[in-house]
Symmetry: C2
Subunit: 390 residues, 2 copies
């Protein structure tokens, strides 16, 4: 897990950014950001949970009344403030304004967003409106901080990758002709979640409590040529091309492992598409070098497609960032000029999609290093290993 010292360091960096824009402190409304900067876990809903820190370093976690006891028991915040309920007789944002003033936040207050986002029917005034302060937004700065993972974050992602592999082995085992998508998926994710809990103790390495995900998202047979489908509990048949997905959050950090899988002996056409998918994957990995940009990596894949006259099978860019969120910036996309930096974590998942045959995509998670990349998901990539008995 991430140490309290690392969380404190993240907050110190954010406070620097807030002071650089002349703010007396900052306010965070986004639940993922609050977890990232404080390590605090909670169920997010229409009742705002807000974190505030002043330029002097004092801080407050602001929660609905019913979260106070749990917050005191499960976190180390020196100060917990609360409001009775949302919407309540007095809007929580008005209570928040008093808490902010008491903490010394005034005139200029940095924030990730100018108020709580309108989720699940929440409605409320802007932070600017209730405090009378100007509110410079730090969203872009925060996103940039999340992009470069620390050594501890990379280890959690690596551990997540190991459990993805565990889930994938089970998923393959339960993917049999006559069985269905839901049966294979539910068995694999249930067993993986229980194994994760057994290995890491009942206090829960999962953080989120969501457990492992494993399945196909409907990408079975010709539907696998749709780069994103939705689950339909489809029955498996001999000759099916499948695109899997697995996930296993470890203290919230989520690696991604996906594989193209075939039930029964592949046809020549399947083998041809599979091999070119592997070729495009190699092109992407080879492009992760010091000095390259996100666009360069995607460009290398596009070049591979062009060189081999495969453009009609292209559907998606090469990959996306991953961390506390299963998708995040930056993107391995010809339109993203962000330079690669050590500590950035990406999925590498170029795919070929043929409506007459199926979809062929592996997704692996890598961390950019000083000299290239390090693979966080270790799993067979070859067609023989990924051919299931018919």
């Amino acid at each position: 897990m991430i140490t309290p010292e690392e969380h404190a360091g993240r907050r110190a960096r954010l406070l620097e950014r807030a002071q650089a824009v002349g703010a007396t402190g900052y306010v965070l409304f986004d639940p993922t950001y609050i977890t990232y900067f404080t390590g605090f876990w909670f169920l997010s809903n229409e009742r705002p949970i807000v974190y505030l820190q002043s330029a002097g370093g004092g801080d407050v976690i602001f929660v609905p009344e019913f979260e106070v006891e749990r917050t005191r028991a499960e976190s180390k915040f020196a100060r917990v403030e609360s409001y009775p309920e949302y919407p309540g007789r007095e809007h929580p944002m008005l209570v928040l304004a008093r808490v902010a003033a008491d903490l010394g936040l005034r005139d200029t207050i940095a924030a990730d967003n100018d108020g709580y986002p309108g989720i699940l029917g929440y409605r409320g005034p802007a932070l600017r409106a209730v405090t009378g302060a100007s509110v410079p937004l730090l969203g872009d700065e925060i996103e940039r901080m999340l992009v470069r993972k620390s050594a501890a974050e990379v280890e959690l992602l690596r551990e997540s990758g190991r459990w993805c592999a565990y889930a994938h082995r089970l998923l393959e085992q339960y993917t049999r002709v006559g069985s269905t998508e839901a049966e294979a998926s539910l068995r694999a994710q249930q067993e993986t979640t229980l194994a994760m809990l057994a290995a890491h103790g009942s206090r829960g390495l999962l953080g989120s409590g969501d457990g492992s995900k494993a399945g196909f998202r409907g990408q079975i047979g010709l539907r696998s040529s749709w780069a994103h489908a939705v689950a339909h509990n489809i029955e498996f048949h001999a000759g099916d091309v499948l695109v899997t997905e697995t996930g296993a959050p470890v203290w919230g950090y989520q690696a991604e492992l996906e594989r193209a899988v075939i039930i029964g002996p592949p046809t020549d056409r399947m083998r041809w598409l599979f091999d070119h998918m592997l070729g495009s994957r190699e092109a992407a990995l080879a492009a992760i070098v010091p000095g390259a940009s996100c666009a360069d990596v995607d460009g290398a894949v596009m070049d591979y497609f062009a060189r081999n006259d495969l453009q009609r099978y292209w559907r998606q860019h090469t990959g996306h960032g991953a961390g506390l969120r299963n998708h995040e910036a930056p993107f391995l996309d010809v339109g993203d000029p962000t330079p690669l930096e050590p500590g950035m974590v990406f999925t590498i998942e170029p795919g070929l999609y043929d409506p007459e045959v199926g979809g062929f995509r592996h997704s692996d998670t890598v961390v950019v290093t000083e000299t290239g990349y390090d693979l966080l998901t270790d799993y067979p990539t070859d067609l023989e290993s990924l051919t299931l008995p018919a």
Copy 2:
């Protein structure tokens, strides 16, 4: 499921609202709203999926390129437009601006939000900025439409309530001393999801594919006195007070069923708290009468607490709306003056929380009728039924 005619009716009402503010049409960015108005299901991520309708009635679904084939196969949209990727060489919002212009949207364009929300690292310009139009926001109007459920929506919620009861029976069966939260939860939700699929066919009544949820969210033993905890895979012990939760989306519609459950014979103190929870629940249900407001229902519960000197056990308001989202407005809260109207669906879940004993909360889902309410979750409420063997 909701018929195409009902979806068309919803769109016609929204178009009226858009025209009432002088708009040449409207644009929807929120995934739940798109599902509500069109019946289209998709995985939402950093790649915008947008629905547009012009005052003349013509419409477009705007998706990333890789969703085009699936969208054509699984929906009835007359016109599907796309952009290559996000972020892409050209930002999707710039492509969207051309699509909007081509559809006749100009000058004044109503929308649920002025651009795509910044989820999963998405960044982009406002609709106003790319179209040069003024953008009156319809978010509040849309939320008001979602609040009153149709007869078809109520039937889906009732069916969801039936499956919640199914999941709850299994959850009770697997909640045994020596077993753990995760074991009971995973077994109950897996079996319920498979039973739902078997009953409703492999095409999937689930819509979302997410399946049933059943568990405790960490509300076990004294932790049940925390009105929201987080899962910890806690082992069950004799004498534990538990607060359950179950869910089972049916075409996305989600009823809620929760119960206070006790392992082994209850103490007198547990019985006293349980009985008062039932008393407060009766007070809430009795307050659902024509002419009452949301605040009146919560007020009736607060009065019950005050009359019986129970205020120190109060933690949360009486309930919240439910539909395509598991929480939504309006709220059964003293601060919500919304008048009750037939077709509104609420959870009824007043609870008593004693840090020295545990939490006592039932949650049921009801629909407001012309004369009172109709219960959508049918499950035992008495202590004897909810006492498990130790």
